[in-house]
Structures are given as structure tokens and as C-alpha cells.
């Protein structure tokens, strides 16, 4: 493997790791349910994307063909993450989870 590929892979892994960590910190630090919803669906999108890219570069560099399956994993994740976030938000509104002070607007009653 060329040194360039190694640097690229390491950089992407670090980048992805940092973003996933920030997502986890957000989950612990943000004040209420709705704001915490942003942590996992957000920072993780970029985190997983970067880790996936490094995996594609790795398997391409060691000569096992271009890793399409990793791209597929990301596509599945991008398709399912919004749905689960939406379901969580709907469930929270349904049982009336409290919002933090200073939240503008209100969830619906439907």
C-alpha cells in the first residue's frame, strides 16, 4: 500500500472517530430529548461516512477491487436514520416529553 493511501486512511479514520465521539458527547450534554435527537443522527452521519470512505480506500489499495458494499452500507444508513429519528420524535410528541426552557414553538397535538 502506498504511503499516501495510508495517510488518507488514517486521517479519515481519525476524522470519523472524532465526529462519532462528538455525537456521543452531544447525547450526554444536550439538555432535552429533542435536542439529543440531533446528536446520533447528525455527527454520526459524517462519522460513518468518513469511516466508510477509509474502508473503500483500504480495500481498493490492497487490490481487492473497489469496495461497493461499504457504499451500500452508507446508503442504507442514510435511508434509515431519518426514519428512526422521525419515529422517535413522533413517539416523544405523542407521550408529551417535556422540552427544555427557551424552546420556541410547540410540538403539535394530533
Amino acid at each position: 500500500m502506498s504511503p499516501f493511501a495510508e495517510y488518507a486512511i488514517s486521517a479519515l479514520l481519525l476524522f470519523g472517530g472524532v465526529f462519532t465521539l462528538i455525537g456521543a458527547i452531544g447525547l450526554a450534554r444536550l439538555p432535552d430529548f429533542y435536542t439529543r435527537l440531533h446528536g446520533p443522527t447528525k455527527a454520526t452521519t459524517v462519522g460513518v461516512g468518513a469511516i466508510m470512505l477509509s474502508s473503500v480506500i483500504y480495500f481498493t489499495a490492497i487490490g481487492e477491487g473497489i469496495g461497493i458494499s461499504e457504499v451500500l452500507i452508507t446508503v442504507f444508513l442514510f435511508m434509515t436514520a431519518p426514519v428512526s429519528a422521525n419515529m422517535l420524535a413522533k413517539a416523544a410528541m405523542h407521550i408529551g416529553v417535556k422540552t427544555m426552557e427557551g424552546t420556541e414553538g410547540k410540538p403539535w397535538e394530533q
Binding site: 439538555p31 431519518p82 422521525n86
Partner: protein, 162 residues
């Protein structure tokens, strides 16, 4: 009788077939057979859940849209990451977003895009498909968020689903 043997959604079937070939690590006799079975049975089972097909979809605009969304995801991630790490408390808001799109598929693409881009989650669609409830993590003002979403996502989608 022959209804049951047809492919009601050829594109969906094709995508399922190709996806299965990629997932099963190389094309072989077995993967082709199973791929065909899946490409036939999944559209049959899920047929009732699909919204009606839009009259005309400009599919060739899709790659440009996806690239723009990916760029926005990366850019906005940094601001959300910064917000999480900075000591100030965020200013969250529930925003009612007035939809101009009317096709269910277009609305669900818009809602997914909003959820994927950092800083906003789409929480609910009103029963009449007129309003989208968005939770924003850190909103300056409602109108700002609404304008940003309208210009960068809804407009291109409207052109795609005309």
C-alpha cells in the same frame, strides 16, 4: 393470473436485483436466482404501500441534488459539532414549515433530507400534507430556517417532481 407474475415496478426490481448481486459478493448462479426471486416478491408484497407514481420525474437531476445534500451535511456537521462542544446553551425551536410540494414521495425525500442535514430533524407531517413540523437545534429565527430549506432543497425537488 399473469398479474401475479409481473414486475409492477421495474425500476425497483432492477435496483433490488443489482443490490443483491453486490451484497452477495460476486455474481453466481445462486445469487442470480435468489436476486430474481427477491426482485419479484418484494415489489409484490410492498405494492400497496407505495404512493402513486408521479406523472414525471426528472431523475437526471437527482445526482446533483444528492451532491448538494452531501456537501451541506459536511458543512453543517461542523457547526453542530462546534455547538455541542461550546459552552453556550442551544436555542432549539419547533418550526412549522409550509409545504409547497404535494407528491408524497417528494415530501418524504424532503423530510429525509431535513433529518439528514445536521441541525434539523423533521418530526411530523400534518395529516393533510400541508405542513412539516421541524425541530431545529439552534435556530436564529423561524423564517431563516424556512427560507434556507426552501431555497436549497424544496425548489430543486419541485423542479424534479413537476
Amino acid at each position: 393470473m399473469f398479474d401475479r407474475l409481473s414486475f409492477p415496478q421495474p425500476w425497483l426490481s432492477l435496483i433490488l436485483f443489482i443490490t443483491w448481486q453486490i451484497l452477495s459478493d460476486g455474481v453466481s448462479g445462486g445469487s442470480v436466482v435468489l436476486g430474481l426471486i427477491l426482485a419479484w416478491i418484494i415489489p409484490q408484497i410492498t405494492h400497496g404501500f407505495w404512493p402513486e407514481r408521479p406523472a414525471f420525474v426528472k431523475t437526471w437531476r437527482m445526482p446533483g441534488y444528492i451532491l448538494r445534500v452531501l456537501k451541506d451535511i459536511v458543512v453543517a456537521s461542523f457547526s453542530v459539532a462546534w455547538l455541542i462542544l461550546s459552552p453556550r446553551t442551544p436555542r432549539p425551536a419547533f418550526i412549522s414549515y409550509p409545504l409547497t410540494l404535494d407528491h408524497p414521495l417528494a415530501i418524504s425525500i424532503l423530510a429525509s433530507t431535513i433529518s439528514l442535514t445536521p441541525g434539523t430533524v423533521s418530526a411530523d407531517v400534518s395529516d393533510d400534507n400541508q405542513t412539516l413540523l421541524i425541530h431545529a437545534l439552534d435556530a436564529g429565527s423561524d423564517q431563516e430556517v424556512i427560507d434556507a430549506i426552501y431555497n436549497s432543497y424544496e425548489k430543486p425537488l419541485m423542479e424534479m417532481f413537476k
